[in-house]
Symmetry: C2
Subunit: 440 residues, 2 copies
């Protein structure tokens, strides 16, 4: 297909990093050059690829002549800088230098944005250039653009995301094959879904960075990773996963951002933790390494965005979409959304969250236990939605019964003191687990 | 929350139509005024609402002083014109007049866009203003922006959409309650999900308009509603729905646009028809009046966008997102994407589509039937993926057996001649149904 030759001079693109994502960015810039030129209105010229080691063997698509270890010099001669090297430094300094030099930037670096995004946004605002970062949250899934632009006329009330593919894969394996956590993590590592050190994923740090970015966008306020209350999946057992299924739920690691009030103050609450999601909820069907972000807005109602949350190619697709947007602005004029933080909503403490809970207990197998436990809940103003008792006869190897209580929404502190009080009852042998229920 | 007073003078917004969608557009413009001003960088001033009859009783949110029957005069005094009146004329003339006068326009009018969008796009391009239409496809679901912008660096290969909530609700009811089509349509009408005359929905015209718009965007080419091969749900029976379930599928009305080749020519194929979707496919879980669009792209992989496809509030949310985008361009400069049709891909005939099929037969209950039928398929180069036979004993009231054949992908013409030949076999009593299988 002949594309019309654009009249605009070509735009110089620099790519910082040539790893999993960078290689695919270079590939798309190369193989899609004609289509990209048509969409941008000017050819995109790849002027250099910064790496640590120019001697390392690279994919054949990468022209060795473009490799450089001097990223600082590279950013000086680009109109668009794509940062896919990761980490805080030197990524931050390089992006600031690019911005100061008048380049627009595209980054996939969630760690940097969640820690210090506002510095970049302010610099870009002053320089009149764009900072785009679709790939930083949920990989290939268009979520930043929809939240910033499509929902700009609406009021988002809640965001629930499965934004870490590794933990989703692990929990899925535990559920489908009855594996325990360690086994499932090992499988994920063998398949390349989990890193040798899986801490950032299983402890929820990666999801927390994305939660901070999503919350900032959705609520037009500043949320950094330090504001996110975080709990990973490491304490979950095969038994937790099994009981989730038995009671009609699926266990997911969720990134949650929602409007709320604490002591009469309106604000946002942002957290990452495992949660029971009802099987009928659209998030319950998000399997394996896929990601999804579920958004509730006042007028739009429920929306969900689903797709690949990681991987070189999907992430590069999101990066290139941003490259086209910022490049078009350079050709046609205009600027993308700037940081919208006018709402200045305070971040509320984790304890302010009101959620439903499922509490699993081992209790004495005798009459009156449920009455005692219910009384404790009632005295703490925690109301019961459902109870399930499994008598000792169903667990012949045990001398205790099981009790699974699902509560209506209750504040965290009320639940905490309730659990303490229940633990003290002599008919209660053990509080096995306390899990939040979301999306119901 | 105090919003900073924007320095830019206010932008004048005209709304054409004050029905289901228009009323909610007026409500959001009114109740969210402060937030909108912050996001746009200038206040949005509603200068008028055009209706047919200014005497009709309206929702209290609509200031009667703003109502006018003179839409032509109204568009002359607006910076942004929102068209939510529907129909081809006078909507088209009013939008062209608005554009010629230098206003940017936002429309939810899929019928107009699918029939004559290019006229609007060309006029807007010449006048240097925006035409935005997120609400025209799948209501509240951000799909136009993601496809036009987020995927601008990728190559879309296929789009599968559940884009008509009425038919999705009807098929859902048939599946969950065993209703036949007429009963399910009546229920949908009683609940306001289907109109008194359901033709546009059940015959697939509404879905075809959306398919044309989606195909144009996804493949950077021009597709009008006349290019869309269309088949509605009216011939589907309760039995079709039941057998879909028995064989692991869900029946959905899909809007499909995909790349393909016919006689060596590369092009796009766009069609609307009922299809069997495997229960494990993300589209299979889209229930009731919800919509979803599933997109396959070379780098991004599989993506899905899910939400409310209709209704006043959800549609108004999408409209307002567009209003903010075009208004920001007026404040900050710049312009949104223009019609991207550089690919100039021809629209291929429906017969060029290669899909999998499920053929359901009533056959004589004697040995050798399957061999005869298989021979016919093989001689037409249609290969069998799965066969299921239900002997006469399972249907004691009948003197025939049932045969369900699922094929591998085959061209439509091959399947058509196969079915003709099968019909001619004397062991075959009847070809009960021939349905396409998609998303596998
Ligand atoms: N991988 C994914 O699926 C994914 C998904 C979403 C977002 N992201 C984000 O994308 C970014 C890149 O991820 P990745 O997986 O592609 O990482 P990666 O495979 O480790 O690649 C990093 C690249 O950056 C280069 N680099 C690192 N430090 C450098 C320095 N100081 N100077 C010059 N070059 C340097 C490396 O050079 P050498 O090759 O010479 O070592 C390497 O080419 C990260 O921010 C990550 O969070 C990744
Ligand atoms: N409803 C949905 O869920 C939905 C979803 C997506 C897209 N859309 C699209 O949105 C548009 C509006 O749909 P709707 O459901 O809101 O329609 P509606 O309820 O029928 O409202 C149409 C409005 O337009 C006014 N109008 C019609 N013809 C006019 C004319 N010639 N001059 C001045 N005013 C005129 C009507 O005035 P009167 O009130 O005086 O009769 C009425 O207020 C359509 O293009 C539709 O396809 C609707």
């Amino acid at each position: 297909m002949p594309s019309p030759v654009p009249a605009h001079p070509s735009l110089r693109v620099a790519v910082l990093g040539c790893g999993v994502v960078g290689t695919e960015v270079v590939r798309l810039l190369t193989t899609q050059a004609a289509d990209l030129a048509s969409r941008v209105g000017a050819p995109l010229e790849l002027v250099g690829v910064a790496v640590r080691d120019v001697e390392t063997e690279r994919d054949a698509v990468v022209d060795r002549a473009l490799l450089t270890a001097d990223a600082e010099a590279l950013v000086e001669r680009a109109d668009v800088v794509v940062e896919v090297m990761g980490g805080i430094e030197p990524a931050r300094s390089l992006l600031l230098r690019a911005i100061a030099g008048g380049a627009s930037v595209v980054t996939a670096n969630k760690a940097l944005l969640a820690q210090d995004g506002p510095t970049l946004y302010a610099a870009a605002d002053e320089a009149g250039v764009d900072v785009y970062f679709e790939a930083a949250v949920a990989g290939a899934i268009p979520i930043v653009r929809p939240v910033r632009e499509s929902l700009a006329g609406d009021r988002v009330t809640r965001v629930l995301g499965i934004v870490n593919g590794t933990t989703n894969y692990v929990l899925d394996k535990m559920a489908s094959e009855g594996l325990d956590l360690d086994q499932a993590v090992k499988e994920a590592q063998a398949l390349g879904y989990a890193e040798a050190d899986p801490t950032a994923d299983v402890e929820g740090y990666d999801a927390a960075a994305k939660a901070a970015i999503l919350a900032s966008l959705a609520f037009h306020t500043r949320v950094s990773i330090e504001d996110v209350s975080r709990e990973g999946i490491t304490s979950l057992t095969a038994d937790d996963v099994l009981w989730a299924q038995r009671t009609g739920y699926v266990l997911k690691l969720l990134a949650i951002a929602e409007r709320g009030t604490a002591d009469g103050v309106e604000g946002v609450q942002v957290r990452v933790h495992p949660a029971l999601v009802p099987v009928s909820h659209p998030l319950a069907n998000v399997r394996g390494a896929y990601n999804a972000v579920f958004v509730e807005a006042e007028a739009a109602g429920e929306l969900m965005f689903y797709g690949r949350g990681a991987g070189g190619e999907p992430t590069a697709s999101a990066v290139l979409g941003d490259v086209v947007s910022v490049a078009r602005h350079r050709v046609l004029g205009g600027k993308g959304p700037i940081e919208s933080r006018y709402a200045e909503l305070p971040v509320l403490p984790a304890a302010a969250a009101r959620t439903r809970y499922q509490v699993r207990l081992e209790v004495a197998d005798r009459p009156g236990v449920l009455a005692q436990v219910s009384t404790v809940l009632a005295s703490h103003d925690v109301s019961i939605e459902a109870v399930r008792q499994t008598p000792v006869t169903e667990t012949p190897d045990a001398d205790y019964a099981r009790l699974v209580i699902t509560t209506h929404a209750a504040p965290e502190h009320a639940l905490r003191s309730t659990v303490e009080a229940i633990t003290g009852l002599d008919v209660v042998r053990r509080v096995v687990s306390v899990l939040r229920v979301e999306g119901a």
